[in-house]
């Protein structure tokens, strides 16, 4: 596919006995935001390092912006934020960014602007050794914004960021994606990924176990919906009798049903009339979805 920024096919990586990645295929289109999910050691960071050409793949084909991973052409158009990003503690934020700007062939005078973008203008002239974890992470983000990268590979970019900064960070990503940059990020924070990415890829023990938009994954998993029915005073036992499978929790009746039974079940509850005080429909959470896919499905 000529149009995709990143194409991976049948990527396998072994570290001796450890199979870090097995037969992973993935492609990311321009302007697309893809989240890579998976438990600790699932192979997310390994996959990113291979995309950057930092470590060689055992087998499989990868093309990054129509170039080989790690080639100068690929490195020119890819920005990277490693997990636990680190900098030399003796340099100031501004000095470090000026250096990175020159390495990308950009003018070092943009350093202050970038630091402002990530909210570090005040600390720009202090040594990075005195920065907090979140501040270092922001320096990492600032350097990933240098130039017009066609692909951003961000390994747990929001780790260490406070909730407000996370929001600002995803807003920055939205702008970049609108300008056509592809974004591949890994995260353990499911809820933030939910609203801010176009596609989700779930890795489990080095295998890709699910891939698609959140809605698609929901449909495919077909996880049960939970209904919470609050009864009017005293009518709980009566309702429980007419809704088989319901259990009484704190005065409310909880019951689960499959997606396909949902409407019929709702109709039955509506038929109970004014015995019902309130009704909540809870779709399966992202956590449920995630554990569904990352659990047994590995053959």
């Amino acid at each position: 596919m000529m149009t995709s920024t990143l194409t991976i096919s049948q990527l396998t990586k072994r570290f001796g006995e450890v199979a870090a990645l097995t037969g992973v295929s993935l492609s990311v289109a321009p302007g697309e935001r893809v989240a890579l999910l998976g438990h600790n050691g699932a192979g997310k960071s390994t996959m990113m390092k291979i995309i950057l050409g930092l470590i060689p793949a055992t087998s499989g084909q990868i093309s990054v912006c129509d170039a080989a991973p790690g080639s100068i052409a690929a490195r020119r158009s890819v920005a990277y934020l490693p997990e636990n990003v680190a900098f030399h503690p003796a340099l100031t934020g501004e000095e470090q960014l000026r250096h990175y700007l020159v390495l990308r062939g950009e003018s070092p005078s943009q350093a202050m602007g970038l630091l402002e973008k990530v909210g570090l203008a005040q600390a720009a002239r202090r040594r990075i050794g005195t920065y907090s974890k979140g501040m270092r992470q922001r320096v990492g983000l600032a350097q990933a914004l240098i130039g017009q990268p066609r692909l951003l590979v961000l390994d747990e970019p929001t780790s260490g960021l406070d909730p407000v900064s996370r929001r600002e960070f995803y807003a920055l990503l939205d702008d970049l994606a609108k300008q056509g940059a592809s974004i591949l990020l890994s995260s353990h924070a499911l809820t933030e990924v939910e609203a801010r990415t176009d596609r989700i890829v779930i890795l489990s023990k080095g295998r890709m176990v699910a891939e698609g938009s959140l809605a698609e994954l929901r449909r495919r998993a077909d996880l049960p919906v939970t209904l919470h029915v609050t009864a009017r005073n005293g009518s709980a036992p009566e309702i429980a009798r007419s809704l088989p499978g319901a259990i009484l929790v704190d005065g409310a009746l909880h019951l689960t049903c499959t997606q396909s039974e949902k409407l019929a079940q709702l109709g039955r509850i509506a038929g109970l009339g004014d015995k019902v005080a309130d009704l909540d429909v809870l779709p399966p959470s992202l956590e449920d979805l995630y554990s569904h896919f990352s659990r047994g499905t590995v053959q």
């Binding site: 930092l54 934020l81 990003v85 340099l91 000095e95 020159v102 390495l103 990308r104 062939g105 350097q143």
Partner: protein
């Protein structure tokens, strides 16, 4: 080119803040002053000016000091980045690994050159102040200066290679000290005892000159002593300087920095972050 310059500037800044610049400058200044003052004591008609005497003793000192300073500055260059976790990001940038090395080398060489400039400047100042005749020793001092920079480059390159091979700063430091002890101290002791045991045989006439030339530190000493004709002023290995033509030690002094850098580049290329 801009990338190399920026790397060099950044490394210089780091060395400045880590006190490496002040340490190198102070060490060179103190030792040069001490030797210059000792060399300017009345020598009693050796027929050489005072600066030449100082240069001879500076040469003997530099053989130990320059490799040590160079290794101390370089052992952390790659292992330190790996340990701090700055290496993966650096290698994701569009800069060749060779360019990273050359940038670091430029910064570290500049520090060495500054230290040499200060030390040798002080030595020349003291000698000329005490003895106007000492001006005749300036060419020898200049030769010592630039060959010291080349010796420094050789051991910087060796330090980078060790740094890349060991991946951890502690391991790299151990290897660097080992290399220094081996090449600068034990090597000469070994040669000396071999010569004594050999008693003027094949080793002394055939192997010994080669052995001197392949060791960058010995070649450096040999070159400076031969060129200034001051072999008489130094004891030890210098005594063998007469038999080896100047161009051979010069070639060794010139080629070693390139070889060491090539080694460093080869070792760095094998590093996976």
């Amino acid at each position: 080119m801009k990338r190399i310059l920026s790397t060099a500037r950044t490394e210089f800044r780091i060395a400045l803040r880590n006190r490496w610049v002040s340490i190198a400058l102070a060490v060179m200044a103190v030792f040069s002053l001490v030797l210059a003052l000792a060399g300017s004591a009345p020598t009693g008609g050796l027929g050489v000016d005072r600066l030449s005497v100082t240069v001879a003793s500076l040469t003997s000192l530099s053989v130990y000091l320059i490799p040590l300073l160079a290794l101390l500055m370089s052992f952390d260059a790659i292992a330190g980045e790996a340990e701090r976790g700055t290496l993966p990001l650096l290698l994701a940038y569009p800069i060749a690994r060779e360019a990273v090395l050359i940038g670091k080398l430029a910064a570290h060489l500049a520090i060495l050159a500054l230290a040499l400039l200060l030390g040798h400047g002080l030595a020349a100042g003291v000698a000329i102040w005490n003895d106007p005749e000492a001006l005749t020793g300036l060419p020898a001092l200049w030769r010592l200066s630039w060959s010291s920079v080349l010796l420094g480059a050789t051991f910087l390159g060796a330090g980078y290679a060790l740094s890349a091979l060991s991946r951890r700063p502690s391991g790299a430091a151990g290897l660097a000290i080992g290399l220094w002890l081996g090449l600068v101290v034990l090597y000469d002791l070994g040669l000396l005892s071999a010569i004594v045991a050999d008693n003027g045989g094949w080793f002394t006439t055939e192997a010994f000159p080669v052995a001197l030339l392949v060791n960058p530190a010995d070649a450096f000493r040999l070159f400076n002593l031969t060129a200034s004709g001051a072999t008489a002023a130094a004891a030890g290995v210098g005594g063998a300087a007469d038999t080896i033509p100047l161009w051979q030690s010069l070639a060794s002094v010139l080629l070693w920095p390139l070889a060491a850098l090539a080694l460093a580049a080869a070792a760095f290329r094998k590093v996976t972050p």
